[in-house]
């Protein structure tokens, strides 16, 4: 397969759309956890129940012929190759837990990959909706619509006092996790983020790296999400997150302005060095690649670099993950082989981009 075609298939269609503030906010995401009242939660589930849950969701979806649910494609975890699963994880469409530890796991995916419904993960059902840019309210609305469609015939575990009942008590209540992926290079460079993160934590929000819990903040990408799910309405949680994110955007923009004014040459030097590394390196590890991509993206956003598409960071961050590299190669690769392959994909992709 040509690289061009591979890229176009690899990048989720929703990612190609532009969205509000997408110079800083890469994506907005809502996840709703739901369980079926009748069955034990997946941690205790045996084969019979696991399949029963799957069949119930399946037959429910099959009854919908004309709405959003009708267009979803079902993928069973047990039928996928490890690399295929890893690719879905790298695209944020399924969780590592579903890929590795969910024997009866499955996912329903929409064509543009903006909707994914995980089945038999930690909870029976996890609805996820993704969109580009800062669009939390739209995303919440859409997620609620999907939730309502599912609830038409599925009996969700719900309690008046505790709300939606989930396997882990950290999700009970709304069952909702709202998160925003942000590119904050100037706040990192000016060492302001160190001071901001504790303040964000005090507001009940968590800051994480690009691949969620425990992952490192590669390429100055940060995921900000709500910690608490109980006691506040979905809208209030989303509004709180939204207000913190808009403040971060403002600060990041301000920090970028300051950098441009006070140290333009140094910034240009850094951006062009990184561009040079990406265009010329023959071996590059994922950390260096992520850092250079972040610099180049900053250069594009500040019009220091022209003629490279803005989405290069989002696209290449995903394309240079181990799963994708191996899928493109069509074979398993050792970490050393991956670094060589990564460098060559980046070089080619940049060339394609310049044409």
């Amino acid at each position: 397969m040509s690289l061009e075609r591979f890229i176009s298939k690899a990048i989720s269609p929703w990612m190609k759309e532009s969205g509000p503030d997408d110079d800083i906010v890469l994506s907005s995401r809502i996840r709703l956890a739901r369980n079926l009242e009748e069955y034990t939660f997946p941690i205790l589930t045996h084969q019979h129940d696991g399949e029963a849950v799957l069949n119930e969701v399946r037959s429910h979806v099959a009854r919908h012929a004309n709405d959003d649910l009708a267009k979803l494609e079902l993928l069973l975890m047990k039928e996928l190759e490890p690399i295929q699963k890893q690719v879905l994880v790298e695209k944020h469409l399924i969780s590592p837990h579903l890929a590795n530890d969910a024997p009866y796991g499955a996912v329903l995916l929409s064509e543009d990959e903006s909707i994914s419904i995980m089945i038999n993960e930690e909870d029976h059902i996890r609805i996820q909706h993704l969109a580009s840019g800062l669009r939390l309210k739209d995303v919440l609305e859409r997620s609620n619509e999907i939730d309502d469609l599912l609830e038409e015939t599925l009996d969700f575990a719900f309690d008046e006092k505790r709300g939606y009942l989930t396997s882990c008590p950290t999700n009970v209540g709304t069952g909702m996790r709202a998160s925003v992926m942000m590119h904050l290079p100037a706040l990192v460079l000016s060492q302001q983020l160190n001071r901001i993160i504790p303040a964000i934590n005090q507001l009940g929000l968590v800051v994480r790296g690009i691949y969620g819990e425990g992952s490192e903040a590669l390429g100055n990408l940060f995921q900000i999400s709500n910690q608490m799910t109980l006691g506040k309405s979905e809208m209030d949680i989303v509004e709180d997150l939204y207000s913190v994110v808009t403040q971060l955007i403002e600060r990041e923009r301000h920090a970028r302005e300051t950098l441009l004014q006070k140290s333009k040459v140094q910034l240009e030097d850094r951006v062009y060095r990184s561009y040079g590394v990406l265009q010329n390196s023959r071996i590059i590890d994922s950390k260096e690649a992520a850092n250079c991509l972040s610099d180049v993206r900053l250069g594009i956003d500040l019009s220091l670099i022209q003629g490279v598409s803005q989405t290069i960071l989002n696209e290449l961050m995903i394309l240079t993950q181990p799963g994708f590299l191996q899928q493109y190669a069509g074979e398993r690769l050792s970490p050393g082989e991956r670094d060589i392959r990564r460098a060559s994909i980046i070089r080619e992709a940049l060339k394609l981009n310049e044409q």
Binding site: A157, R162, E216, G231
Partner: protein, 178 residues
């Protein structure tokens, strides 16, 4: 932010623990968090393990060992899935929806810790599954509004709401009778 343990890697795990009003913050990189987990006798440092630390709320300073303060709860077992409070405290996850009812008496302090002092839901209510609850909430709201009007001596408006309430209560009564 750098890891407060090794001061080399950036911190990716930010954990805040508040015990009796005293706040403790930890900022660790993945590697140090893993090592810390091993020191505490755990091989994986996940949210569930952090949570099980919180479940030990009677004696927050007691060290981790599997046969301490949970023994007082051993008698309790969920009818539906068979999970005991001990097991829940160990894995940090419930076995089924019924567990919430079974362990209800112990949940308020736990949920308060995890959800910044909250223990009661105030978000979305399922449209179909909890239709009754929607009506009950509406009735409660209308009663409040009616009371307001009565206090302000706007009896005509109060009467309109009273009629609305009657029809709603009738509807609710019918539903319950089904």
């Amino acid at each position: 932010m750098e890891c407060q343990n090794c001061h080399i890697q950036p911190a990716t795990l930010h954990f805040t623990k508040i015990v009796n009003g005293e706040k403790m913050e930890m900022h660790l990189c993945e590697q140090c968090a893993k090592n810390k987990g091993e020191l505490m006798g755990q091989n994986n440092f996940s949210i569930h393990q952090l949570l099980t630390g919180l479940l030990n709320f009677d004696q927050p300073f007691k060290k981790h060992s599997q046969t301490n303060s949970f023994t007082t709860f051993t008698s309790q077992k969920c009818e539906k899935c068979g999970m005991t409070y001990e097991q829940f405290a160990k894995i940090g996850r419930f076995g089924c929806a019924k567990c919430y009812e079974t362990f209800d008496a112990k949940l308020d302090p736990l949920l308060k810790r995890v959800h910044s002092g909250n223990h009661t839901h105030s978000g979305k209510i399922p449209k179909r599954g909890a239709a009754d609850l929607h009506i009950r909430k509406k009735i409660a709201l209308l009663k409040e509004t009616m009371q307001d009007y009565i206090e302000r001596e706007e009896f005509e408006k109060a009467a309109v709401i009273r009629d609305e309430l009657r029809s709603l209560e009738k509807q609710y009564g019918n539903k319950k009778g089904e």
